[in-house]
């Protein structure tokens, strides 16, 4: 690999990294604004215009609080817990395709950190590792409530991972590719997977709620039963990292949902806009502007799903733990297997029929 290519990749990954962090930061602000709107109050409005500096103020507060480590806690693992949570949350953003390509001086630069032919498996692997941050932190606190919260979070995550993986398989059977870039490219021209996989989408979004430990699946931090859950003993910026990792996970899963089911950067009338732009601005500039519009559309979709997470949080009450496990194992997994069978039958029998009929 030559040096320019390396530098371009580094710059892309850096941009993706910063974007993820900024979006996660402003999700905390948006969460309180949405909560305020739903509960008929104004939400944060003191720091900056409309409370826009509130995330900065919170970060400053977190940093200046006393960094306390309990006497009987395992010191290194106590620090490693939140770091692992942040690390695994950030890792998945590398393979998300944010747009098609940008042309600079004859070079095509993909708007994606890494184009990998196992993209979706990579995301799935990183999601599976997300458990460790919580488990290590909960155990290292040396507190029974933390341990129970961590165990709860971990068993919830691994239970819902199964249904999530099974709902992904239906998508993979249709796309016959594991690369996220390829999956998005195949959805060009309103061939969005949501029209073919409505059941799979419902399973996937339910599982991603559970994976992010969001309401209605936020049992790991159930105050009435577990004090504060796995982060009972945490304070200062270490607690901040745990809370922040949740928002990063939310953004990542929203982005993955829009990539897998809502066509990523594709939008209706895309080809028409592309032709008009190329005609008006020339081949290179027109292409770049069209790509940027696609990226804006992609972020619009992802932000809508972040809003959806918040909307659900202030609408639906929390499940009981046995209800959660019953839903995961006895309802979602059989449904996902049923979805796989239906998809397989449709790909084998329905698709040739429809293709023959259309021609």
């Amino acid at each position: 690999m030559d040096l320019t290519e390396f530098l371009v990749k580094t710059a892309t990954i850096f941009v993706v990294f910063v974007l993820t962090l900024v979006i996660a930061m402003y999700s905390t602000w948006a969460e309180r604004k949405v909560a305020g709107f739903i509960q008929d109050r104004s939400g944060p409005n003191r720091a900056g215009w409309g409370g826009l500096l509130q995330p900065m103020a919170d970060a400053g507060k977190m940093f200046f609080k006393e960094d306390f480590i309990p006497a009987l806690a395992n010191k290194w693992l106590f620090i490693a817990g939140p770091s692992l949570a942040m690390l695994t949350a950030m890792l998945a953003s590398a393979v998300i395709p944010f747009g098609s390509t940008i042309r600079v001086a004859g070079h095509e630069v993909a708007m994606q950190g890494v184009e990998s032919n196992i993209g979706i498996l990579y995301v799935f692997g990183v999601v599976a590792l997300g458990v460790y941050g919580i488990m290590v932190g909960g155990w290292a606190s040396n507190n029974k409530f933390s341990l129970l919260g961590a165990i709860r979070a971990a068993s919830q995550n691994i239970s819902y991972e199964v249904a999530m993986g099974l709902s992904l398989i239906a998508i993979l059977m249709m796309s016959s590719s594991l690369s996220l870039g390829e999956i998005v490219a195949q959805q060009h021209g309103m061939n969005w997977n949501i029209f073919y996989q409505p059941l799979g989408f419902i399973i996937f979004i339910t599982c991603s709620f559970a994976e992010c430990n969001r309401v209605p699946f936020d049992l790991p931090e159930c105050e009435t039963e577990l004090v504060g859950g796995y982060h009972t003993e945490y304070g200062s910026m270490k607690l901040g990292f745990y809370l922040f990792a949740e928002y990063i996970n939310m953004f990542i899963s929203s982005a993955i949902i829009s990539v897998l089911y809502f066509g990523g950067y594709n939008y209706p009338g895309m080809d028409f806009v592309y032709q008009q732009l190329v005609k008006a601005l020339g081949a290179d500039t027109g292409h770049n502007v069209a790509t940027l519009i696609g990226t804006a559309v992609f972020f619009g979709k992802a932000l809508f799903f972040i809003f959806f997470y918040m909307w659900v949080r202030w609408t639906i009450p929390r499940f009981r733990y046995d209800q959660l496990m019953n839903l995961g194992w006895k309802k979602l997994i059989p449904l996902a297997i049923f979805n796989i069978i239906i998809t397989g039958a449709a790909v084998l029998f329905l698709k040739p029929l429809v293709t023959a009929w259309l021609n």
Binding site: I118, Y132, A154
Partner: protein, 172 residues
């Protein structure tokens, strides 16, 4: 030395180091975490061999699922460091002999193995990719693959039977 080779040596060093730390650590939780690190470095080796699917599956299955269950059990057992000394000298001697024998066998087998001649120019670099792996599994090795899946199904049914709730009152 080109970058792939130096990277290979670095990864191998990490692998061996973390594998040794699994055995040496006094705290079982640390051992499990080092074992997870070992799986990661092994995945790094798979990526160096251009077997990306194997690398991802190694992470998902071993680091993501099996080691989580290991951690579960060890966290609940709540093993303290001081009751580790309860092993008698006899146990230690027996363990050393068994471990040493396995080492000698492995070393002997390694010395006798002749690595097949290998031509880098004719090597198909795409052999570890998921497409060729899938074709191989579902064309040439379809019967063993299906038999393995039936075996897994049987094991799963057995596990469900063992974990089934007993007749009587519920405890939660």
């Amino acid at each position: 030395m080109n970058s792939t080779v130096s990277f290979f040596y670095f990864l191998s060093f990490l692998t061996v180091l973390s594998a040794v730390m699994v055995v040496v650590s006094r705290n079982p939780i640390h051992s499990v975490l080092y074992l997870i690190l070992t799986f990661f470095t092994l995945s790094g080796h798979y990526i160096l061999l251009n077997a990306q699917f194997l690398a991802a599956v190694n992470i998902i299955v071993y680091a993501g699922a099996i080691m989580v269950l290991f951690l579960f059990v060890i966290m609940f057992l709540n093993m303290k460091q001081d009751n580790e000394e309860s092993k008698t000298n006899l146990t230690k001697i027996a363990a050393t002999i068994v471990g040493g024998t396995v080492f000698v066998i492995l070393f002997g087998a390694y010395r006798k193995t002749a690595i097949a001649p290998f031509n880098p120019e004719q090597y198909d670099s795409q052999v570890g990719m998921i497409e060729s792996l899938g074709k191989l599994l579902f064309r040439d090795y379809l019967l063993p693959f299906e038999l393995a899946s039936i075996l897994l199904l049987v094991a799963m049914v057995g596990a469900v039977m063992l974990g089934k709730r007993e007749i009587g009152e519920r405890h939660f």
